[in-house]
Structure formats: C-alpha cells, structure tokens
C-alpha cells in the first residue's frame, strides 16, 4: 500500500536550488515537503572545517582502498578529500554509463545540502552577451529571458547569500551588491598592474566573487580563513543551503525535509491532465511511497532532474515528462577547465601570505565581446591566483640525512619565488548530440533506471582551449613573468561540475522543455529551476544563476497559485 500525503509544494532536492525553492515557497505561505535522496546533515556533527590531520585515520591521504573501490569517479574531484569524502556519492550504488572512449565524470552529492556543501562558491552573473548568444550565432535555442528579467533576482539572492567581490562596471560581467573584496596577494596585484599596462581596459583581472563572507552578514560571522570550506564550515561563513535557505524554510514551520527519499518519477494523472505528485523510494526500507502536491519544483541537480523527467513516462508522455518536445536530455553542456598557463613572478622576496584565502582571482572574458575571433564562437574567463611557493616539512623526505639536525632544519619554511597562474573556464556550445538518455538495462541501488551520458568537447571548445592557453601565456609574459609555460590536463567533461542543459528553457514548446518561468510546457505545475534549465552555458560559474532562476520561478509559481491558474 502506498502512503499518500498532500502538500502545497514538493521540492525535489535540497542543494543550492532546492534550498532556495523551499525558502521562497514556504516564506510565501505554502506547506512544503523537501525530498532529499541522501542523509540528514547536522553542521555541529558533520562540518569538519580545517580539522587537524590527526583526527583522520589516513591523515588526509585518504582511504585509498575505499576510494578506488567505491568512489573511483568522485575521487577525481579535488574536494573529495578525507575530510569531505562522505559528501560525495558511492559510485557503486549510483552507476551511470558512457560510450567507450567518451568519459564523463559525474560528481554528485546526496545529503541534505547537496553539493552546496562542497561547491566552489564562485559567483558570476551572466549578461546579455550570454542571454543573446544563441540567437546571435544560431547555436542552441534563444533564451526566453534577458538580463533585465533576471537582474532583480540576482540582486535578491546575492543580497541574502553574501557575495564578496569588487565592482567593475563591466557589461559582460555585471556587478552585484558585493561585500568587501578579499585582498589580492603581492603577485596578483603586480600582475593586475602589468595586465592593465599591456591591455588597458580590454582585459580586466579582479579578486574572485565568492559566496564567502568577508564581513558579518545577515547574522552569519565572517570567514576565519582556514581555507577548507568544502568540508563544511562550523560558523556558516560560506553559502550552503543547510545553514541559510533550508534553515529559513524550517523556521517558517511550514517546511518538512524528508531525507532518504529517492525520487523515482513524477506522477502524471491522465484524467486530470497534470502532475499530481511524485513517486519515492525510501532509501533505507526500499518501500515505494507517493506524495501529492499542487506544484513540484524539480531541483535535483542538472542530470538528476532530467533523469527524473525521463523516468516519468506515461501514455501522454512516452518519452518522459517534457519529452514531447524532442529535446529532453539533449544540449548537455559543461565548462572546459584545467588548461591555461603559469609563470614565475620576479621580486617580493621579503613578502609572504598569511591565512588561507578561500578564493582566487578572476579574469573577465575578453574574447568575442566586441570583435569576432576567427577560430571560435563565445568565450572564456580565467580563474587562478598568485602565491609564493613555500616548502615546509614535506621537503624532508627527499633530503639526505636524518636525526636532530633534520628535525631542526624542517622547522623553518623554505620560500621560493612568487608565481602566477591562469586557468581558463570555457563556454560550451549547446549541441544536440551531447545528450543523456535512460539506459534501459541498468538500475541503481534503489531500482531507479540510470543515465547513459554521451558528451564530448567539440571543435569550438577545442579551438577555444588552444586560444585560452596561448592568451594566458601572452598576458603573463606581457606582465613580466618568467618561465611561462602553458598546460592542458585534457580534463573530460563533467569534472568541472558545471553540467548544464538537457531540459532547457526556450520560447517555443517544440524547441524547449521549459518556458520563460521554468515551467514544463506540458505540465505547468512542474518547475525545473536548476542547471537542467540552462539554454546556454556562458563561461561563468553558474550556481548564482540557478539561485536567481529558482527564486524568480518560486515567486511566479505562488502568483499563479494565488490567481488559481495552477
């Protein structure tokens, strides 16, 4: 027997997007059920910050056997260290497939808070350069919104989340209500001056815009610069849904968070011609449950959201909910990453850094902003930083000798030169053959059919990656760096964890899954507001855009409910 419960709204997922949906809907008076596939999180118990190494069995070297057996994909993410490995999924329980020779590293977090616990926290607005891109060059479908539609919602979510950064007035990288910028290092400041000397206003470097508090904000303390945000912050000084949006949602008294609730699919009621609820598998008992609601917000993360839609098959929607458009699962995007250049910065021998800044620099997009590059469309930005190389005790193993002298000599740090590095994040063109489908032959531990992910970097991305390396080297050299070298780690798609698209917004129901308010064209009481909804990728870290889209959609949903239009 299925148990049925009736809610005003169900929110699937409790990460960046789900947290916002829960907060906005419950604060506007709705009774909200948040369904989270993973376990509950208690910051007091689960957030480890910069816990000293001796608190861990392997002292941050990680449990290699466990990682190779249970997390061979998740371990590729830099944040999946011994203090945060528990925030990443078990790859054996959560399988997916890819074609031979075309890897896609799908990084996932299943717990209350989702990936908002170990995300990279960089927040950059998209601009009309991005929202008009598809229309301009014909790749993908035209966004149904422009910057003016989302700008007030960027203001709204940024004011709440607290983004530290520097206002620049760049049209391609709009400013927000920033908290004080974090300081640059000596070599970053030096590079910035050299860059301006060489390129004027055309190329602009700034401190990263980051959802980490540089000052007390909305009752949350400022960052203490321990540098290990991805393990969870006891003081709640970076934005994660557990300590912000979900907390607010619970405070309304109208929100219930149900962990261990794996959503299988949405329930399409043929008689009523609409979605009436969701099918859930209890992750612990494996019991099948159903929950009913007037509206559903699907915020399960880009590919999990699309997986739920694809698995929501019915007579009216044989290809899944939204599948009648023919584009559900298509136009998967990610940003290219881990290619750029680095060099040595002369001077500043009498300076060093103190503290661990959870942030780097950002160099705003300059390609195809005014002129058209002959080799590729769209553009890229850089992230990176400038630090002094320093060796502590780690150098000791390779030194000859042992005993009291060795111990004494390892007490002092050995400072090397300052360095500067630039790593590009490149836009990915929406392409119909970068797509996900349901693999009919495979289910996960809870019996839910899994995804087959087929994605590759194509000609435009590859041309852009080559240019980004050369341009990075050019800028470092122009600023006066020595020993400049380019690099390309040949990182496959997925690992940037900026996967986007597959249930895109659009103007035409035959060309898109969602309308301008993130409603499924064929099921208007279903909203998909996470990365799945993106019609193009820009080159900016996208989470803040998901926040804004979610808050905007929630506002619209409540307005429609109040007008009895849903």
């Amino acid at each position: 027997m299925n148990r049925r419960e009736q809610w005003d709204a169900i929110v699937v997922g409790s990460g960046i997007s789900g947290g916002w949906a829960a907060r906005e809907l419950s604060q506007k008076g709705l009774r909200v059920l948040v369904l989270e596939a993973g376990r509950p999180i208690d910051p007091a118990r689960d957030y480890l910050m910069n816990a000293p190494a001796y608190e861990f069995d392997y002292r941050y070297l990680g449990d290699q056997r466990h990682l190779s057996e249970r997390q061979p994909i998740q371990r590729k993410c830099y944040a999946c260290d011994e203090g945060a490995t528990q925030f990443f999924v078990d790859d054996v329980d959560n399988p997916y497939t890819t074609p031979d020779g075309r890897p896609f590293d799908w990084i996932r977090g299943r717990q209350v808070g989702g990936k908002s616990i170990m995300w990279g926290r960089q927040c950059y607005r998209m601009s009309d350069l991005d929202f008009e891109a598809n229309k301009r060059d014909g790749h993908g479908t035209d966004w149904p919104i422009r910057y003016k539609d989302i700008a007030p919602w960027y203001d709204y979510v940024e004011s709440y989340a607290g983004i530290s950064g520097e206002r620049l007035g760049l049209p391609q990288l709009p400013d927000g209500p920033f908290l004080a910028p974090m300081p640059l290092t000596a070599s970053e400041q030096w590079f910035r001056e050299g860059l301006t000397r060489a390129f004027g206003d055309e190329r602009v470097m700034t401190i990263g815009r980051v959802a980490v508090l540089s000052e007390v904000h909305n009752g949350r303390p400022a960052c203490h610069y321990c540098g290990a945000c991805h393990r969870g912050c006891s003081t709640g000084s970076y934005f994660n849904s557990v300590q912000t949006t979900l907390k607010d949602a619970l405070a309304t008294g109208r929100t219930t968070i149900r962990p261990f609730s794996v959503v299988h699919s949405l329930i399409w009621n043929e008689q009523q011609g609409k979605v009436t609820g969701v099918r859930v598998i209890d992750a612990q008992s494996l019991a099948g449950l159903e929950f009913e609601a007037r509206i559903v917000f699907v915020c399960a993360s880009t590919l999990e959201s699309t997986r739920i839609l694809l698995n929501s098959r019915s007579r009216s929607h044989p290809e899944g909910l939204g599948g009648n458009s023919g584009v559900l699962g298509r136009y998967l995007m990610d940003h290219t990453m881990q290619h750029g250049a680095r060099g040595v910065v002369p001077g500043f021998e009498n300076l060093r850094t103190v503290g661990n800044r959870p942030n780097g620099i950002y160099l705003a997009r300059f390609r195809n902003v005014k002129d058209q590059h002959p080799d590729f469309l769209r553009g890229y930005g850089y992230q990176g930083g400038g630090y002094r190389s320093v060796e502590g005790w780690g150098r000791g193993a390779a030194m000859r000798g042992f005993g009291a002298n060795l111990k004494e000599s390892l007490r002092t740090m050995e400072y090397g030169p300052w360095r500067m590095s630039l790593g590009a994040f490149g836009e990915c063109l929406p392409h119909p053959d970068n797509r996900v489908t349901i693999n009919p032959d495979k289910v996960d531990r809870w019996g839910v059919p899994v995804l087959h992910i087929d994605m590759q970097w194509r000609e435009n991305e590859l041309a852009m990656m080559r240019d980004a390396q050369a341009a990075a080297a050019e800028m470092l050299e122009a600023a006066g760096c020595t020993n400049v070298e380019t690099y390309d780690n040949k990182t496959p798609p997925g690992l940037t964890i900026h996967e986007m698209g597959t249930a895109r917004m659009g103007r035409d129901r035959k060309e898109s899954v969602l309308n301008r308010w993130n409603q499924v064209w064929d099921a208007p009481n279903v909203f998909v507001t996470d990365g799945a909804s993106m019609a193009s990728s820009g080159c900016q870290n996208p989470s803040v855009t998901y926040m804004a889209l979610t808050a905007r959609a929630a506002d619209h949903a409540v307005r429609l409910l109040n007008r009895k239009e849903l």
């Binding site: 910069n50 000293p52 190494a53 001796y54 069995d57 392997y58 002292r59 941050y60 070297l61 449990d63 290699q64 056997r65 974090m182 300081p183 640059l184 290092t185 000596a186 970053e188 400041q189 203490h224 610069y225 321990c226 500043f348 021998e349 009498n350 300076l351 060093r352 850094t353 103190v354 503290g355 661990n356 800044r357 502590g392 005790w393 780690g394 000791g396 193993a397 390779a398 000859r400 000798g401 042992f402 005993g403 009291a404 060795l406 111990k407 004494e408 390892l410 007490r411 400072y415």
Partner: protein, 185 residues
C-alpha cells in the same frame, strides 16, 4: 618468540649461527617482553612494530620536543603500509626491516632494537647510503618509504602539529603581502 622464529627473523645471518643457545634464549626473552608494547593493527608483528618505532625515533628523535616514537609514527606507518602499499612494496618494506636486523647482527651482533642510539644511527646511515648508491636519489627504496612515512606521521600528529610546528589553523584573516620576518604574523 622461540629460537626458530628468532633465527628466521635474523634470516640465517652469521649471528644466528654464532650465538649460543643461551644467548639466543636471552635475546628471545627480551624481545618477547618488549612485544606487548608494540602491538599494532596486525600487519606488523610486535618485533616489526618495535623496529619501525626505533628507526623512526632515530629519524626524528626527541629533542626539545617529543620525537617520532612519542608521536606514534609507527602506527601510522603500519596503517599506510598495510592499506596503501601494493604487495611488492609491502614485501620490500618488511624485508627492509629484516635487513636492519641483518646489518645490526653483522656489525654489532644484536637486533636493531637492542642497539644503542649511536649504533642504530650507523646502521641507518648505511641503509641510506646504499639506497642512494642504488640510484634514483634513493627515491624508490625501503629507506625513502620509511623516512617519508615517519615524517608524514610525525608532522600530521598532534605532537607534530601543536608542539613542533605550532600551526595556526584558524588565522582569522588573510594578508596577501605580509612581511616575511615579522614574528607577530
């Protein structure tokens, strides 16, 4: 530890055959008494654990701060050798420990753990020198493994972090251009 085990441990060196059975018995009894102190997770036997601890203490001895033995580096070493090393490297590590005893027996007619510090240092210096002579700057050797794990275990231990390095985990600020020599930093 009985005579057969002791002889096996010594790997059939000259020592094993040149000691009288009375001496061997005394040696064995002493080793056995030590054994209870060196009970680990089960990968090393007591004697191996004791040997790792003794060698570690010579690599990072107690000075004005405690050394590797107090920081229990041998336990960390055991964990990594047991859980991270492949079979070939595990075998090399265990053989390396046997070799410490063989060298100790050949030069000083004792097990490594029974030698005074100065003689232990002489044995370790020999091992290091041979590792470097074998090439690759000693990188791919029992010696490097032992030394690396001792250092890693020490500087990530409570003693290493709080007494030796005095690491400040929560600096409360970031300064990107702080003067190098200022002790208040």
């Amino acid at each position: 530890m009985n005579r057969r085990e002791l002889i096996k441990l010594l790997g059939g060196t000259a020592l094993a055959t040149s000691l009288s059975s009375g001496q061997l018995l005394a040696l064995g009894r002493d080793t056995h008494r030590q054994a209870a102190r060196w009970r680990g997770a089960g990968f090393f036997d007591h004697h191996q654990m004791h040997t790792v601890a003794a060698a570690g203490e010579r690599i990072l001895p107690a000075t004005d701060t405690p050394g590797a033995m107090a920081a229990e580096c041998h336990r960390f070493t055991e964990r990594i050798v047991a859980d991270h090393y492949d079979a070939r490297r595990q075998r090399r590590f265990v053989e390396g420990l046997v070799n410490l005893d063989q060298r100790s027996a050949a030069r000083f007619q004792r097990l490594f753990v029974q030698l005074p510090a100065q003689q232990q240092d002489a044995i370790l210096a020999e091992v290091e020198s041979d590792a470097y002579q074998a090439g690759s700057n000693g990188a791919d050797s029992f010696w490097r493994d032992l030394k690396y794990l001792t250092l890693y275990g020490y500087y990530t231990s409570e003693i290493g972090i709080e007494q030796e390095l005095r690491t400040d985990f929560y600096p409360g600020r970031f300064d990107g251009a702080a003067p190098l020599g200022d002790p208040s930093q």
